[in-house]
Symmetry: C2
Subunit: 418 residues, 2 copies
Amino acid sequence: MDIKEYMQTVGRQARAASRRLAGATTAEKNAALLHIAAAIRRDKAALLAANAEDLAAARAAGLETAMLDRLTLSDKGVDNMAEGVEQVATLADPIGEMSDIKYRPSGIQVGKMRVPLGVIGIIYEARPNVTADAAALCLKSGNAAILRGGSEAIRSNRAIAALVQEGLQAAGLPAESVQVIDTTDRAAVGELITMREFVDVIVPRGGKGLIARLLAESRVPMIQHLDGNCHVYLEEEADPNKALKIVENSKTQRYGTCNTAESLLVDRSVAGLLLPPIAAMLTGKSVEIRGCAETQAIVPNAVAATEEDYYTEYLAPIISVKVVAGLDEAIAHINQYSSHHTESIVTDNHPKAMRFLREVDSASVMINASTRFADGFEYGLGAEIGISTDKIHARGPVGLEGLTSQKWVVLGDGHVRG
Amino acid sequence: MDIKEYMQTVGRQARAASRRLAGATTAEKNAALLHIAAAIRRDKAALLAANAEDLAAARAAGLETAMLDRLTLSDKGVDNMAEGVEQVATLADPIGEMSDIKYRPSGIQVGKMRVPLGVIGIIYEARPNVTADAAALCLKSGNAAILRGGSEAIRSNRAIAALVQEGLQAAGLPAESVQVIDTTDRAAVGELITMREFVDVIVPRGGKGLIARLLAESRVPMIQHLDGNCHVYLEEEADPNKALKIVENSKTQRYGTCNTAESLLVDRSVAGLLLPPIAAMLTGKSVEIRGCAETQAIVPNAVAATEEDYYTEYLAPIISVKVVAGLDEAIAHINQYSSHHTESIVTDNHPKAMRFLREVDSASVMINASTRFADGFEYGLGAEIGISTDKIHARGPVGLEGLTSQKWVVLGDGHVRG
């Protein structure tokens, strides 16, 4: 069977399974999830053995340490995986929820019903825990899943997929509800992202290179996550203590996350007051400061920022700083340079805070809060399949609801249109 | 200036205007709409003259009557156009609405705010009234619009665009909030649908050929509307009178609309009872019946339906009919053959009606109601930019809300993540 034929078969099976899943009860889906979690715990030794084979092959191929880390399943990691699946079982089922049912003058009732998207293709790096996690979220939201993990993890993914399918069948649901693509051939991805008849949405979870390729080639809608070039803006009426705390937390709590602040804007009238203590805090934590000329005049150890700096997601202990005239310039700067992920204003001025909230064109916009809060768990979604920087469909942290759509329902009693 | 350069300029201007529009007040937007409507009424003679030039050129080029009809602006048509714009001014402003603001254990408040998508590209046939209509809907929803109408209407569209821009400026909003592409070069469309940096969504309003081209070439998300192969399903417990009324209205009220029923399914146990009066009604209205063998046995004048018939949107007085075993087969048939636009079950059985509602994978799913209700006005949207048969973002009739997205808002008071 060639790759195209293989992927068509996978797609056809996923579509068929998705029809059954759309009608699955909450009890059936939860039973499958609990079976899967139990099977993961039961077969921990076998999972660790499959993972050890992946790791040996990856080491032989000379993979980098960071990639080996992501590939590794520890004893504790397997427990976490099972717990994660159990946690998804505890989440409310979004499917079937009817809302806004209203009578119309014609006598019909019109409203909406939340339904699964259908078939979701997930493309991710060599991180075996994502296999269980993504399978659980798709299942709970009533979607069939086609999972394509990094090829280095294929033995681990196969082993996890077998347990997922066992759990599905134990609950009376089709095994094909979750399929792991069982080939490392890269052409499989090309097929997956162009099978419009079988795949409703693609969720890429990976680096910029992957997303760029998918953006260029995908014929299926994507819930994409590009980069997180997040801003903190200190407005004239910023409380100095809140400003210091929020910049510290936004920039330095973790350097490698997409909701970490990469750029700091500060009003000219308060730059001389606010920047010195913030610069001292940052320098104390060995964060490099790259600033505009005005910043450099206030912060002697700041190096000159280039135009490129303001576009950059460092994912490192570096921050760009710019002094601005006020709210208008701050909003314009952010809308120009940001990746539209998350931005926060620090101010005690209500009208200005509200203008920032409304006019900044990003997935998450905050008042007096750390950008680090932009996260599915912090927002109360209970789970997160990704963070979307797109505007269509799902925006920001995407939980179960982002894997659903709403159709219209009309309730009549023999009504016809006049 | 070549086409690429021209379109980049249009795109850049639209993006800049969209920033201003995102912060425009409801009063500003409504003032612009009322100015536009007044200008349309004031310059009726000039609009009719521009349209007459379009018509003369189209007649000289040998355009078909149906296309000439769509291209024609009558005296009354201009009034309707102005009224349509005034009506959009009366609709509630969806922008800025905050919802679901909740406290989280961390102390932050998290919720959503409805915001414009940004820049919307609309591609449509030579129908000048769409120019005013689309401009008004985009403006009210805070989006900048780039309008590309059929080239036969370019003089009419230019004249309307000038009045729209006059109204925008009179209200203090940027003229570039609405731009009509001022070239008939088809390459402009190719640019429009690939300028991801300037265009957030494409709304195609046209025939299948246009949509197919856009699906293949667009790099910008689309709110697409393919065809409407709508079904009415008469379940065993269908009330015969409701069944007759609903089939009559769904099929024969209008033949050329996308929410017209094209296919009828009927349970085997009641086919002999229900089909004869329905066939007599259809035949009385000269509707051709194409049926399966069982249908032909009950309805002598039915011709044999081919597999292709069940996939076909006739837009004509023809209907396909199939006898099915029951609910399972009906749902499976619809999910296989339908274009996922609108389907209706006729039954008095509650559990079966609810299963149909949940498991049929279409934008509108109805119980005991005519498929003809699938319409933005009937649903109470107040306006309609199109009907989406896609699942991502907007589904079914798309009103102002479909031209918006929701971003996350976080309200804190110096909160940082622990």
